[in-house]
């Protein structure tokens, strides 16, 4: 939503419109601060809006995110720039940050688009749909996903063949190919980094065959398959559309592994895998689900109970890290692992293997603070300089961190961390106001 008033100064800049960014923005907005959210993607909602049901309460992620998204979008104190990035942030003095934003062109006039999808229907180009993690295609002009906010079309110019059909059919005259990159200078009193995380790319681990074997999927691809707005009509194998009946989960893919440069635990994979296992058992009652784990990290409120429940539902948990995966002619996969309890190496056949990929830092942050560089920790997450008492404090006064930008965490923890960031931001602004008025 472009600001109606062409405002150029805000109390708080929130970088990232995921759940952590929104939660902190809302808290601050309700306390009367003017907030600008900058989101690099086409829609706010972050990763959470794409998830199916979430542990341990199994409530649907969209049911929690979308009301929050619309509350954010509607709040008079919040302005949102989507498809925009922070180019640089310079701290001039306390409570005075000069920021340059870059608004990328979508070639669609946001205020005019009604989200009717006429253009999408006519567009002749298909491209991998990043929001369905490449399981199906989208068009070159497209609405990101059905519950996107804003729910308007955008043109992927890299994949556009410039046929102009979209412009011809748009009933609202919303297509505008003359849009250019815009640089917007603004001033803010403080900054919240809520840039979230990246997922581990399993192609790094050659012996798991991701990319090579089509029936080896990531947990995010499985997550999409379990959502009502899923790419297929059921949980299916991408190789041949067959309904699987024996699914394996490979935990610690890219976590707790020095050889891929990520020695820390991703904190969420155990639980989301257990959750997906429960959902699969609901969706495919005949299916067997096996989880290959190192240690089940069911540490949060209600997590252990949730894990025990999945075991009683029939999920099989085997202690042992999967060493390698090989494909059979029929697309089934042979998983080789050591059954730790027996101390024996074993092979098991599954018809779908899910790699429970870990959480990595989002490296975008570093480049935003070119002048007074922000300190990162050993794993390239934003460093919490006073972790115990001021968990949102960073190496720059007036810059705070919320959610997974500071390390792996689950949704409840992200929301709490966002709460902490908002209150630390509020007291920072107020403290300096009191000081300057003295």
């Amino acid at each position: 939503m472009v600001d109606k008033n062409n405002q150029t100064s805000y109390d708080v800049l929130v970088i990232g419109g995921g759940i952590a960014g929104e939660e902190s923005a809302l808290n601050l907005a309700y306390s009367g601060f003017k907030v600008l959210i900058v989101e690099k993607d086409l829609s706010v909602g972050g990763k959470m809006i794409h998830l199916s049901k979430v542990f341990p309460t199994l409530d649907c992620s969209a049911c929690i995110t979308t009301p929050k998204v619309s509350e954010t979008a509607r709040h008079p104190n919040i302005t949102i720039y989507t498809y925009s990035e922070v180019k640089n942030i310079t701290k001039l003095s306390e409570q005075n940050f000069s920021v340059t934003l870059v608004k990328k062109p979508t070639y669609v006039i946001e205020s005019a688009c009604t989200g009717c999808q006429e253009c999408e229907e006519k567009c002749p180009i298909i491209v991998n749909d990043q929001y369905q993690w490449d399981l199906v295609a989208r068009k070159a002009v497209y609405i990101p996903f059905s519950i996107a906010s804003p729910r308007v079309a955008a043109i992927d110019i890299e994949n556009c063949i410039l046929c102009g059909l979209c412009e011809k059919v748009c009933p609202a005259d919303a297509i505008d190919f003359t849009q250019e990159i815009e640089e917007i200078p603004i001033n803010v009193k403080s900054v919240i980094i809520a840039t979230g995380f990246n997922l581990f790319d399993p192609t790094v681990i050659d012996r798991y065959g991701f990319g090579k074997y089509k029936n080896v999927v990531t947990s995010m691809q499985m997550e999409r398959q379990l959502v009502p707005t899923r790419p297929y009509n059921s949980v299916l194998r991408p190789k041949d559309g067959k309904m699987p009946d024996n699914i394996a989960y490979v935990l610690c893919t890219g976590s707790r592994d020095e050889t891929v440069g990520n020695p820390i635990c991703s904190q969420v994979c155990c639980m989301y895998s257990v959750k997906q296992a429960q959902l699969i058992m609901g969706a495919l009652p005949m299916a067997d689900v096996t989880i290959y784990y190192l240690h089940i990290r069911a540490f949060g409120k209600g997590f252990e109970e949730f894990y025990q429940q999945s075991l009683s539902m029939g999920v099989e948990a085997i202690k042992g890290k999967v060493g390698k995966i090989t494909e059979k002619e029929n697309g089934n996969l042979i998983v080789r692992y050591e059954d730790i309890r027996e101390g024996k190496v074993k092979e098991a056949e599954h018809d779908l293997v899910v790699l429970s990929v870990g959480i990595l830092s989002n490296p975008d942050v570093k480049a935003m603070f070119n002048g007074n560089s922000i300190e990162l920790d050993d794993y390239n997450f934003v460093k919490q300089v006073d972790e115990l008492i001021n968990p949102a404090k960073t190496s720059i006064d007036g810059v705070f961190v919320a959610g997974t930008a500071s390390g792996p965490m689950d949704i409840p923890d992200s929301i709490l961390s966002a709460g902490a960031a908002s209150s630390e931001t509020a007291s920072y602004i107020r403290k300096h106001q009191v000081e300057s008025s003295k």
């Binding site: 399981l135 295609a137 410039l162 297509i175 041949d240 067959k242 005949m286």
Partner: protein, 94 residues
């Protein structure tokens, strides 16, 4: 430079050229789409059946058929007797 409203595409055409690879991919995709839709004209089929008929790997058929489903051109029917593969059919009213 001002572009005429409703024909801003001309502005973009002057600025950008479309890579050949993209055009090639478009042709290829269109060919696959046509083949799949044609194959379905003779009745409901599963992914392995289509794959065999049009001589394309099942993973490509899976990708395209579900994309077509997303764009409301085909729809899913019943599952086969073995509870393994779904049938697909052309969508009548889009």
């Amino acid at each position: 430079m001002k572009a005429e409203k409703g024909k801003t595409i001309n502005y973009m055409k002057e600025k950008r050229t479309v890579p050949e690879a993209l055009k090639e991919k478009r042709k290829e995709d269109a060919k696959i789409k046509k083949a799949i839709l044609k194959s379905l004209e003779s009745g409901e089929k599963t992914i392995p059946q289509i794959s065999e008929e049009i001589n394309l790997p099942t993973e490509i058929v899976t990708y395209h058929i579900y994309s077509l489903r997303k764009f409301y051109e085909v729809e899913t029917g019943e599952i086969d007797d073995m509870d393994e593969y779904f049938f697909f059919k052309l969508k009548k009213n889009k």
